[in-house]
Amino acid sequence: MRFLGIRWASLLIVGLLLPLPALSEDVPATLYSWRGSVPQDVFDRYTEVYGEDLIVDSFMAADEAEARLALKDAPYDLAVLPIEVVPRLLANNTLQPVKTQVAALKDVAPTLHLDVFDALLPDVSDYVVPYLWGSTGMIIDVPAVRARLPNAPLDSWSLLFDSKNAEALADCGISIVNSSQEVLALTLSYLGKDPNRFSEEALDAAFGTLSQVMPYVSSISDLHYSKLRNGEVCIALVWSVPGVAPKIEGFGEQYTYVLPKEGAIMWSNVLVAPRKREPSAHLQQLLSFVLSEEVFERLAAHSFASMSPFGEDVALSPMQHMLKAEIFPTNQMQRLFMLEPLTGAQKHDLDTRWRRLQIGRYQ
């Protein structure tokens, strides 16, 4: 009898999904962003400025956001996404151009580099507003690692991708971020291959390497901040967001965030506007609010992300200066590369392999 409940619950879910009412003018401005990326005072500030509520819907993984935004008429006025996802969403025609709408905001957001993607990703530059920047590197519990691998270089992915090292570190906790393209790109970097060339051979090599270390990986997770906070890992492939947190917040002095010499990722989250049947009434207002100097910096500081990785910008706050130094160490900048977009089919193939890897069925 208990399991009949599943059917009823399923019907309820389907029933709740079915109406999906169209957004009306009365619906408040809605932002779609990473979970925990918008502090309460920003909500309050929005209400204070505009006299309206701000709704923030959140996601735990970029794939989740991609899936949500891959469907037209997503109920958001503005969304935060990794830049490499945008071309695939454009292939589904689910985004609308926003660049012309933010051109007038130059004065509002002086640190904004609107033209940063013009040459790099010309096809998507009209659809994105550069937002937050960060890196994907390795955080190490130096004492723990040294205790187990006294001679191992601490600035190399070999600490993680060499199965012998992984085996040695398994007892103190190894964690990998749940982001298939980033992990594969970094694995290829470790293997000395082009991190953006996902040929069959390259994939086989990368997954071969990963499958050897997977038995020693304690978690593939999006929740590294708590793991670091609790001292559950001694080495992790992480985004800079949790990677710089111990330093910024002053906990876990044993942790060091490094950009390995084989290569690390410079990622960019951008603002996009989902395409809707009716033009968004809040888009312009929400963009103005998010990109305003005060709010922009607050959001970046809260996410431990950089507002800009480019050059010396005197306009940056001390907090931004500190974050930029930790996320993009000046002496390691040459190790950074950006991910190139994958097609939908490539991404599907990659994800399928990634899931098989996680359940130990990759051969």
Partner: protein, 618 residues
């Protein structure tokens, strides 16, 4: 006719166009119904398929999520069972959608989603199914099962909005199709209405006008035909009068001449003159009678009469002819409870019988002609019908000729006319007269054995009792008779006949003379021609009746004379106060009968009975 043919062609064309429009509308309506049915069936299949996927995904998502927290093997087993069922249903739906045909059946918006490159729902569904199958695979270790369940559950949750959106698009497409069906249906209805309006405006109404015009043409033609018939009748009547007037003279003078002393050759030639004249007169009468019958202008005079007596009298008229052809005439009547004194069209019966007996005698040689009279039994309450049959033992009629024996100018064959003479109008008159009496005539015949003509007609009971016939006796009249006629021959005929009857005769050539003679000479009786120059007989009669200076002007017998058939002047004659009527050419028998009607037996003196016509004898 050219106009009518053109109209007919155009009407047919327009009717064809109207019918084509209606046919197109009907076919379109049928197509709409069939297309709508197919569209509904397709939408139902699609929606059912998507519903199955949605339900399976939600079942899997919940079960996969709960299986991670299952605290004992029984619950895990139950969740696995649930997942297996959902996997089977999802897999079947996925298979149905996997080929291009399955995707093509969806609306364009739904197809966009089903074919989208990023996060393709079908590919992801396949992945969910695959992961779920790993979860329920008994060979898998717990850790892999949990990870797979977690991954499958996440993916299933992400996937559901896509299929839900597809479902929405399908429902919207169904609404669009339904609306389109209504529009198409309305269009088909509009086309039908156009067809109806077209048919009404360009086919029905013109057709109605066409029929009305045709009807008017027919009525116009009918009136023209009636006018032509009227003119023909008038022409025949006029010609009849014009021919009979001199013929009256010929026959009358022949009659007078026969009373003079002649040698045998002269008497034989005079007989031939009379015979030829009578034949000619009969022919003229037949033509005139037929014309009147066809024009429907014949009104029968119904009187009380002795039918058996009429049969005998009429048959007797042919006795002389019968003797010459060695034919025995036989009249027999069956016993009748009601008797043969009855009410009917005596004149018509006499004419019919005269034609039939005349024919029978003419076509029979050395045989018998039998006239038989009998009642025709009928149901109780029905009118009384009698059958009058004339049977001969003559040459008979062939079966082919029998079919047209009653047609005008038809005889059994061409040789008949040559051999026996006649106009071929007699039997046509018989048929017309019989039908005018509401009776019918039929004939049966065997070639070389004879023929039998039978007519059956209704009669009524006599209105008055039969009076005993008065015995007439012959005499001469010592009376003064004024003869008023513009035709000198007719004057002479009448004068000679009257003088032979002992009358003193004076003549007048017009009505005015007749009035003056009536005043000056005081005649006992006037024979007054109806049509005369200066003053016609009707005016003259009216003048005499109103002239008090004429002795007994109100009661003076004035007998009208006319070459027209009886009845044509009858009403006019009665209205001006004429006392009687004689048909020209006057024959002695009719004249004597008319005189005796006006004068008592005392007025007659010593007339030779042999001079009286046989029909007047008892």
């Amino acid at each position: 006719m050219a106009r009518l043919r053109t109209t007919k062609r155009i009407l047919r064309l327009r009717s064809g166009v109207a019918l084509s429009i209606l046919l197109v509308a009907s076919i379109a309506a049928m197509w709409i119904v069939l297309a709508g049915r197919e569209a509904v069936a397709t939408q139902t299949r699609n929606t059912t398929c998507i519903d199955t996927i949605l339900l399976s995904l939600s079942e899997m998502a919940i079960a996969l999520h709960q299986i991670e927290d299952a605290d004992n093997v029984y619950r895990v087993s139950a969740f696995e069972s649930q997942i297996r069922q959902a996997v089977v249903a999802a897999d079947e739906a996925h298979t149905a959608l996997s080929d291009e045909k399955g995707v093509n059946a969806f609306s364009p918006a739904a197809q966009d989603i089903l074919r989208q490159a990023t996060f393709n729902p079908l590919q992801e569904l396949s992945e969910v199914i695959s992961l779920a199958e790993i979860v329920v695979d008994p060979a898998e270790v717990d850790e892999a099962t949990h990870t797979a369940a977690n991954l499958a559950s996440d993916l299933a949750y992400r996937l559901m909005p896509f299929f839900d959106r597809i479902r929405q698009y399908e429902l919207e497409a169904a609404e669009v199709i339904a609306d389109r069906q209504v529009i198409y249906g309305a269009a088909a209805l509009l086309v039908s209405l156009c067809g109806v309006v077209f048919a009404a405006l360009f086919a029905h109404l013109p057709m109605e006008q066409y029929v009305l015009n045709a009807q008017r043409d027919i009525e116009r033609s009918q009136r023209a035909a009636e006018a032509a018939s009227e003119a023909k009748t008038m022409f025949l009547a006029t010609m009849s009068h014009e021919i009979r007037t001199p013929l009256n003279g010929v026959l009358g003078l022949a009659d007078v001449l026969s009373d003079t002393k002649l040698d045998p050759d002269q008497r034989r030639m005079l007989g031939m003159i009379s015979s030829s004249g009578n034949n000619l007169l009969q022919m003229i009468n037949d033509i005139l009678d037929l014309a009147k019958l066809e024009a429907g202008k014949t009104s029968l005079e119904f009187v009380d009469f002795d039918l058996e007596m009429v049969c005998r009298e009429t048959t007797e008229l042919f006795s002389g002819q019968a003797v010459r052809r060695n034919v025995r005439l036989n009249v027999e009547s069956a016993h009748s409870e009601a008797g043969w004194y009855l009410h009917g069209a005596q004149g018509a019966v006499r004419q019919i019988l005269s034609n039939l007996v005349g024919n029978a005698v003419k076509f029979t040689e050395n045989g018998t002609v039998s006239v038989r009279l009998e009642d025709v039994p009928g149901p109780e309450g029905a009118p009384r019908f009698v059958r009058l049959s004339v049977r001969d033992e003559g040459i008979g009629i062939s079966p082919d000729s029998l079919k047209r024996i009653f047609d005008q100018f038809e005889q059994a064959d061409a040789s008949t006319t040559t051999r026996f003479g006649g106009t071929g109008l007699g039997l046509a008159i018989v048929k017309h007269l019989t039908e005018t009496m509401n009776g019918h005539v039929q004939v049966s015949s065997v070639v070389d054995e004879g023929s039998e003509f039978s007519l059956v007609f209704p009669v009524a009971k006599a209105l008055a009792r039969k009076q005993a016939s008065k015995t007439q006796f012959t005499s001469t009249f010592d009376k003064r008779v004024l003869v008023a006629d513009d035709n000198k021959v007719n004057q002479m005929v009448a004068q000679k006949l009257l003088q032979k009857l002992g009358c003193d005769v004076q003549l007048a050539s017009n009505g005015l003379e007749a009035v003056n003679k009536a005043r000056s000479w005081a005649p006992d009786l006037i024979l007054m021609d109806v049509r005369m120059p200066v003053m016609d007989g009707l005016q003259a009669t009216r003048a005499i009746r109103m002239d008090a200076s004429i002795p007994g002007s109100a009661t003076l017998p004035i007998v009208g004379l006319s070459a027209n058939t009886r009845g044509e002047h009858e009403e006019a004659i009665a209205s001006v106060g004429m006392s009687g009527y004689l048909h020209k050419p006057i024959n002695r028998e009719a004249l004597v009968a008319e005189l005796m009607r006006h004068w008592t037996t005392e007025d007659a003196d010593g007339l030779d009975p042999n001079d009286l016509p046989s029909g007047l004898s008892a």
